[in-house]
Symmetry: C3
Subunit: 273 residues, 3 copies
């Protein structure tokens, strides 16, 4: 199944509009090109909705939040909703400040995202509308491991059902749910945490997969998670000698640009609950 | 001829002020250092013109357009004009929204650029003040190929003549014209399209070449196109095994930093019409 | 001594809040992850102080200065001061425009930085509240060499004493002083100047070292300088064949991510005056 999802991205070349943070904006553009999609970044309120109208999907990412981008996010979200384009919300740093959490909640409410992609700390912050994130990485206590998997999967399923979204929650084990089923995904490698923005990259990949596979949003979101996680494994497998996080970041992009549908089909490591 | 153009960049170390987009700003700074120039990025209206005054050239790039940068672009452009510094306009995404197109036209009119560097879709959008760009990449219909070359070269020549600029239009075949002659350049590699910002990099390189070669602006702009295109070929020649777009991006920067005047002289692939 | 300083960063995982420029923001995040710290970038005045409150250190970097970030820098600085967090000021481009110089002086006065990290041109601009920087790199006349070392070391010592900060001034020879002692550091490699943002990376590393070593701020700041300089040497030692500035940048990040306390202890090349 996942082979076809990736193939559809590679053949349909979805154009993804991202209103996104300043830290990882370049990586997000490059990963979209690497997967076969095309990027456009436009976040001035004077053109955001116009640009969205010419695209196939929209990503709203809250990193390096700037209040002046919020009207652009809302306008672009409305236009995407009108046109039936998938919208992915990445609530980076939800919980790190009241402004960040409130903006994430507002976009969840008014942006009507198709999918929300974050780490467990961020999703918990949205669920309880509060709490504290440790930077933009997940709190250790929030990490999903084999021991906490059952409870975490049920939490993600319920969050997805209540919010009416695909919830895509990443960590040592990734959980993707539409409120009914839950994909538990064991792809990925800890070194991905040594490179900033792998989460942001996943969010734009998710938008590309959703745009190219409109009839299977849950599978598309899970496929994006498996794809980037598998690339994280392949990148780690190439590391030798003195290579560290700088080279790993390059290899990760290489892997996305060369991932074949067959590799993804074979390497995707998941179970559905 | 091109050997000398590059040598002049390497020996005169031009300082290039760029008011530019958030996606590729880091690549633009690094490519300037790689070619022997120095970068400074300053786009607050409170200092843009002051910074321009201490530089040798100016680049105005419309990617991730922010309306609050427009006064900075106009003020810096005016100062550069007063001082006789070359100005390069990169109308990223012209055609993607009315705001983007109108701003590009205003900067073309008021910024008095020495050169305009864009893809064919963007230049067409300026020429007809409308139309639709597919993201920030050229529409397929706008790609310059051997079949469409004669017509495209004449279009670019006329655009340059009417706008009173050097037009530098990049694609599978690149066209650079001062309104009289047209350089048709066949350097480059399709993989450059898998890395975001190679166009932006070319725009700042063009500014560096113009600053270092003030008496031959057409040749300088064409030399920059040949130089980056040749580096794109050299980078591709190094790719092996599992290397993909991540590694290609690194190799491209390597090639710029190591390109010799002799390599450029020998590798430049162009005809003048 | 330096072994322990780095070890403390690796074990305490300080969370560093950076209000920083758009050119090197991604490198700053990645170098923090590489050294064992965690990054968060938040510069909206509506959340900057809140985010600071949850962090261990703060970096204020003036590159691509935006006047709307100044209130965020001041508010975050005040909060960091109240909480006793180390604050590092990087006066990028001080001297390049009146706005840049005045803002740097205001942050030096009101932000009460623990350390100021810049090149000699920038520090001189702060010392004399004027003068001209050549871009964001140091003027040649300001380069610290063996010939000018005595005078430069005394200048840096006096600057530190008067400003009440750790002054960390980088160049061919680096000088770090608390107003009493001066560390003269001979680590580093000229190729670091071919990659944009190595200074910015050093500033966030300095913040991480200060946070992890609160009782020894002078040694912490000097340790960060030695660490990145040593990584610059290690990265250069790996270069072969056609590799240039693109690969060097990757190797530099690799080296930070793999630097061991023992390597730093052995490789740190300094004298104390």
């Amino acid at each position: 199944m996942f082979a076809e999802l990736l193939q559809n991205v590679r053949t349909s070349h979805p154009l993804v509009h991202s209103i996104t943070n300043r830290v990882t904006i370049n990586d997000c553009a490059n990963v979209l090109l690497a997967c076969g999609a095309s990027p456009i970044m436009a976040d001035d309120p004077g053109e955001a909705a116009d640009v969205t109208a010419g695209c196939d999907a929209l990503t709203l990412n809250l990193g390096t939040l700037d209040q002046r981008r919020i009207p652009a996010m809302l306008a672009a979200g409305r236009r995407a909703n009108e046109l039936g384009h998938p919208v992915v919300l990445d609530p980076v740093g939800a919980g790190a400040s009241p402004l960040r959490t409130e903006t994430a909640l507002r976009l969840l409410r008014e942006g009507k995202p198709t999918a929300v992609r974050g780490n467990m700390s961020e999703i918990r912050a949205l669920a309880r509308a509060g709490g504290g994130a440790h930077g933009v990485d997940a709190d250790r206590a929030d990490r999903v491991t084999e021991e906490t998997l059952d409870r975490a999967a049920e939490f993600v399923r319920q969050f997805a059902a209540r919010a009416g979204v695909i919830a895509s929650v990443t960590g040592p084990i990734d959980l993707v749910s539409d409120g009914v089923r839950v994909f538990c995904i064991r792809n990925g490698h800890p070194m991905m945490g040594l490179v900033t923005g792998t989460g942001c990259q996943l969010s734009v990949l998710t938008a590309a997969f959703l745009a190219a596979n409109p009839d299977r949003p849950l599978e598309a979101a899970a496929g994006a998670v498996c794809a980037l996680g598998l690339c994280g494994e392949l990148a780690h497998g190439r590391l030798t000698g003195p290579e560290g996080s700088g080279t790993y970041r390059v290899y990760l992009m290489d892997a996305v640009s060369r991932l074949t549908p067959e590799q993804l089909e074979k390497g995707a490591n998941y179970e559905v609950r």
